[in-house]
Symmetry: C2
Subunit: 338 residues, 2 copies
């Protein structure tokens, strides 16, 4: 049975959201997993009592009294708060007492804790937070989703390699198509780092690199390459684009309310509105660290947490960690100069 450790104290509404999400996951998902809630036991039990009968054989609580806040500096939070739910949960995973770890807390601190406690794979210098986004033709993985605002070509190449393995082994795309987000398709487009990354990705073995792609090719099929599975970009661009995408539900509602308010009551509009409720899709996998860590945003709902638990179970079940280790060994790491 796969065990997922959940940081109960991470999100903006912790621990209510996390406990609510765990309750949903235990009730709704296939019972192939167990959950360890990590945090302040009294607060967790109080929330648990609001969810009626849960299968407590698949649920335990590990105490952690301290909390990393959204404003804590990442590295110092990890060092100065060894009894925080974040650090205790990550250590459970590192020690093999959980197969995956999940937090809706401070992203930077989670990234730092994973890097320090789990460690990075050989040849990887920086971990990345990826985000799995919906399209009408299946999900697309955006790497980086916001953790790293400035990236070297070497880092972007590693994001491509890691994202490729995730989409192949966890999401099940046979030969993921990888694109580099740019302002045009031509080789000379973009700044120096992007141009260098483009050249190097063309030389990467074991990667189905389609080339430079544009903003319009991220969630709509590319005219020649079709659906792109992995979109590589620095975290600044990735974050702006993802948050822009998140706002599309509000935009569509606003336009319909203004121009065709009768449509708001139509049941036929419900699938589109549900689709555009991007915030509920789950978390983003943290890639590059030796383990399975899923990061949710602070404003997550219980449904986000439930979906992220499903993602964590799937990643652990597919042995993501071992797969990445084995696969990276088959690929030459990008040259340090790149």
């Amino acid at each position: 049975m796969i065990r997922v450790a959940v940081d109960a104290m991470g999100g903006d509404q912790a621990p209510a959201t996390e406990v609510g999400g765990v309750a949903m996951a235990l009730r709704e998902l296939e019972p192939t997993f167990a959950v360890t809630l990590v945090g302040q036991p009294a607060a967790i039990e109080r929330e648990l009592s609001r969810h009626g009968d849960l299968d407590r054989t698949r649920l335990d609580v590990v105490p952690a009294d301290d909390v990393v806040s959204m404003t804590d500096k990442p590295l110092s939070a990890v060092r100065r708060k060894p009894d925080s739910s974040l650090v205790v949960g990550m250590r459970l995973h590192q020690a093999g007492r959980a197969d995956a770890f999940l937090s809706a807390g401070n992203t930077g601190a989670t990234l730092a804790a994973a890097t320090v406690i789990l460690g990075l794979y050989d040849g990887v210098e920086r971990a990345t937070v990826a985000s799995l986004c919906p399209t009408a033709d299946g999900p697309v993985l955006i790497v980086d989703a916001g953790a790293n605002v400035d990236c070297s070509a070497r880092e972007l190449i590693n994001f491509a390699r890691l994202g490729n393995i995730y989409m192949r082994d966890v999401v099940g795309r046979a030969e993921p198509r990888v694109g580099l987000l740019n302002v045009g398709e031509e080789d000379e487009k973009g700044g120096a780092v992007v141009r260098e990354t483009h050249r190097a990705l063309r030389e990467q073995p074991r990667l189905h690199y389609v080339g430079n792609i544009e903003g319009r090719d991220v969630v709509v099929p590319h005219p020649r390459f079709g659906h792109i599975d992995v979109v590589v970009c620095d975290g600044f661009v990735g974050n702006v684009m993802l948050k822009f995408y998140e706002s599309m539900g509000g935009l569509v509602d606003g336009v319909i309310r203004r121009d065709a308010p009768g449509l708001l009551r139509s049941p036929e509009l419900a699938p589109l509105r549900r689709f555009l409720d991007i915030s509920e899709y789950g978390g983003g996998p943290l890639l590059g660290v030796r383990g399975v860590t899923i990061i949710c945003h602070g404003a997550s709902t219980p449904r986000t947490i439930r979906n992220a638990i499903a993602d964590a179970v799937e990643a652990a079940r597919h042995g993501l960690r071992d797969h990445i280790e084995a696969e990276l060994a088959l690929q030459p790491a990008p040259h340090p100069a790149a």
Copy 2:
């Protein structure tokens, strides 16, 4: 009467698209303007003959035999093709024989031609292509929309100043709200250039700077500041976001076709689909040069050209050039070190 010079040979389907757009503009818009089509006379006349009776007192043709292609290098195209429709049209504007110039051709070359022929305002080191995007609450101006992939803080500050004047004087927002696109609202967010720009924009007089904004605040009202009028970003981020936005019509169609195909026939869906057909909104004003130049993308339709002509007339009618000149003189230019 305002005269707009139109580069007839710029777009992917030139001159058919340009001539079609001019015909639409002459038929549909208030007759406060005249048009000069610049390009190969035989090709232009052949296209004109397909549009029946047009008011030829408001339409003339200035011959230019050469054409700047999409793959020409910007500066060398301007220098080596003095008889191109781009250079001839820009010179008409510079000489005062046209009050505005419009091209759907090579953006880099149009930027270069405008910079060389019209010249930059004092204190402005680089022109910017802005894009006016629709939201349910009125348009938002994105500066830069893709012309400048790497920007200094000084350049971003000038984009904010120029975009502010455009939204106030041409679009008519009394006190435009200006936001800096970032990955979070806190002062320490973003890379070095963005942090420096944020600090400097807070000190800019005559600018209603609301602070850092996120991707979700661009086309949906900000929870505290409401509708943002001017979004400042480098051209890489701006281009990716704009093209992503352009793809939303295709995404919405794809989701509805998959999940609720009956809705596709509903007339109530028409306003949303029309709204999301971003490509037809018109062109982007080129800001920072001494004149009124509108850039359309190469894949423009006749309706895009028609709408861009309306924008050009509006900008010329409001004396955009003189306004910017006067307004910039009232504002201290950003410090060269910034």
